[in-house]
């Protein structure tokens, strides 16, 4: 079943579960139209397909069976499948999460509770947190920081719009390359950071990698009472 959820900025999020058979997508959008009724016309909607592969045919049928008849305005088409993103982009459709104008030093975060497989790709204006692994062949691009709570084997690019004050944090660093802003840092498999908790950043134009968390501080010595 497709679910309609409220988002901030008076937007709606239309979540199409990955387990929903493709053959039922059109019918399921139809029932959303019936239930959604008056709230749909004019509403800004994010269509979230998870890691579903979208064919040209599916996209066309969603446009003709849901988007145009319901009167919604689609703010973004979200899929983590890189080839589907290409198809959507070629049609001039937005494939990254809409973000509210960030305040100074604040950007909206995208939190994904999943692993990204080879061929899957996430692009987001803001920070990205992946509660899972980023496998070899998967890509994460963020205009802000990237935090991977699992293993990092794939390609990550923090600050892809040029911000080199961003960082990449990974619980297990197993990628040969990390990109931050316009810099590329490379790593060998026998490097001492391989497989470790790390934080990668750019300082003075150099890509730096360090263990994370860095444990600093002074021990508090309790005064023995007399």
């Amino acid at each position: 079943m497709i679910k309609l959820k409220g988002m901030s900025d008076s937007m709606l999020r239309c979540v199409v579960p990955e387990e929903l058979p493709s053959s039922e997508i059109t019918a399921s959008f139809g029932s959303i139209m019936e239930k959604g009724g008056v709230i749909l016309p004019g509403a800004k909607v994010v269509l979230d397909f998870g890691a579903r592969v979208l064919s040209e045919k599916t996209i066309c049928s969603i446009l003709s069976e849901f988007v145009w008849p319901s009167g919604v305005s689609v703010a973004a088409w979200i899929t983590y499948d890189a080839s589907s993103q290409e198809i959507l982009k070629r049609a001039g459709l937005v494939t990254s999460e809409p973000t509210s104008e960030p305040g100074a030093g604040i950007s909206s975060a995208l939190v994904l509770h999943r692993s990204l497989r080879s061929g899957q790709r996430v692009e987001h204006r803001g920070d990205v947190i992946i509660a899972g692994h980023v496998n070899d062949g998967a890509e994460v691009l963020a205009s802000g920081n990237i935090t991977i709570l699992g293993r990092l084997n794939g390609l990550v690019h923090a600050g892809y719009e040029g911000d080199e004050n961003t960082t990449v944090v990974s619980r297990s660093m197993e990628a040969l390359q990390v990109r931050i802003g316009g810099k590329i840092g490379s790593l060998d498999r026998d490097a001492e950071w391989w497989g470790k908790h790390v934080i990668v950043s750019v300082r003075d134009g150099v890509v730096l990698i360090e263990y994370w968390p860095t444990i600093k501080g002074e021990l508090v010595v309790k005064e023995e009472s007399a």
Partner: protein
């Protein structure tokens, strides 16, 4: 039992899809199931050679789809073992000769006659793979313990998930225990850690696989080599039996053996 349509796939070429298809189909037939193996690799026909049925081909899958013959005329019965059939593909056509819809129709037509329909998919992620997988409910992903094969398997698993195949299960082929032991090859536990799907079997690297392929006699027909036993175990697990995983002779504490111990809960 409801008929099961299973696609055997891998992403990367040369990891043993066709060998696995032939051996698992033969082993399932050995368990008394009625099985048909379909060569889904249009234009690069191999399954018939590995199953030793190439000189029996009259019609192919493409002939049946084009209406030149009926589907059951393209079925070749393996005379060596009861209940085993195969449908060869055309060598002279390209991947475009069969569409997804046609493949779904072929599979549906076979469901009424067979317990298991195994489809050997071509390598790659393009139309050939998609067409071969279209009619299947389940998938077996074959990989070898190499970084490149595992990466491709990961890609294929993502696509299979998106195509709503379930379950998607893993076969790790061509394991060399001594190399795993020395740390020169990924262990099964490492592969599973990356791919995060259920393991249905692991097959050690075994020379008898090559000789059996060349002779056109699937190992599971009569052989009792370690690879033959591994494929028979896989077939039994697919059929729903609870078969313990083989010990591929790796010392305790890590790697394969550590994985078995964890798998059976007696590693504490």
């Amino acid at each position: 039992m409801a008929p099961r349509v299973i696609v055997v796939t891998s992403g990367k070429g040369g990891v043993g899809k066709t060998t696995a298809t032939a051996n698992i189909a033969t082993a399932l037939a050995g368990l008394g199931k009625k099985v048909v193996a379909i060569d889904g690799d249009v234009g690069l026909r191999n399954l018939d050679v590995i199953m030793g049925l190439e000189n029996r081909i009259v019609y192919t899958l493409v002939d049946a789809i084009d209406g030149i013959c009926r589907l059951n005329q393209a079925l070749i019965r393996d005379k060596r073992i009861e209940n085993l059939y195969m449908i060869p593909t055309a060598q002279s056509k390209t991947k475009d000769a069969v569409t997804s819809d046609q493949m779904v129709k072929v599979c549906d037509e076979l469901r009424s006659d067979f317990d298991y329909i195994l489809i050997d998919s071509p390598a790659g992620i393009e139309s050939g793979f998609r067409n071969a997988a279209a009619g299947a409910d389940e998938a077996l992903v074959v990989t070898t313990p190499e970084v490149s094969a595992v990466r491709d398997a990961d890609r294929i698993i993502g696509l299979l998930e998106s195509m709503e195949k379930s379950p998607i299960r893993l076969i790790v082929n061509r394991i060399r225990p001594h190399m795993v032991r020395k740390g020169d090859m990924l262990g099964v536990a490492d592969v599973l850690d990356i791919l995060a799907i259920d393991l249905v079997g692991m097959v050690p690297d075994d020379e008898t696989v090559v000789t059996s392929s060349n002779k056109g006699e699937p190992l599971t027909l009569s052989g009792n080599s370690i690879a033959a036993r591994a494929f028979k175990n896989i077939a039994a697990r697919i059929a729903g039996e609870d078969v313990p995983f083989m010990n591929l002779d790796v010392p305790s504490g890590g790697g394969l053996f550590g994985f078995f111990k964890r798998a059976f809960g007696n590693g504490r």
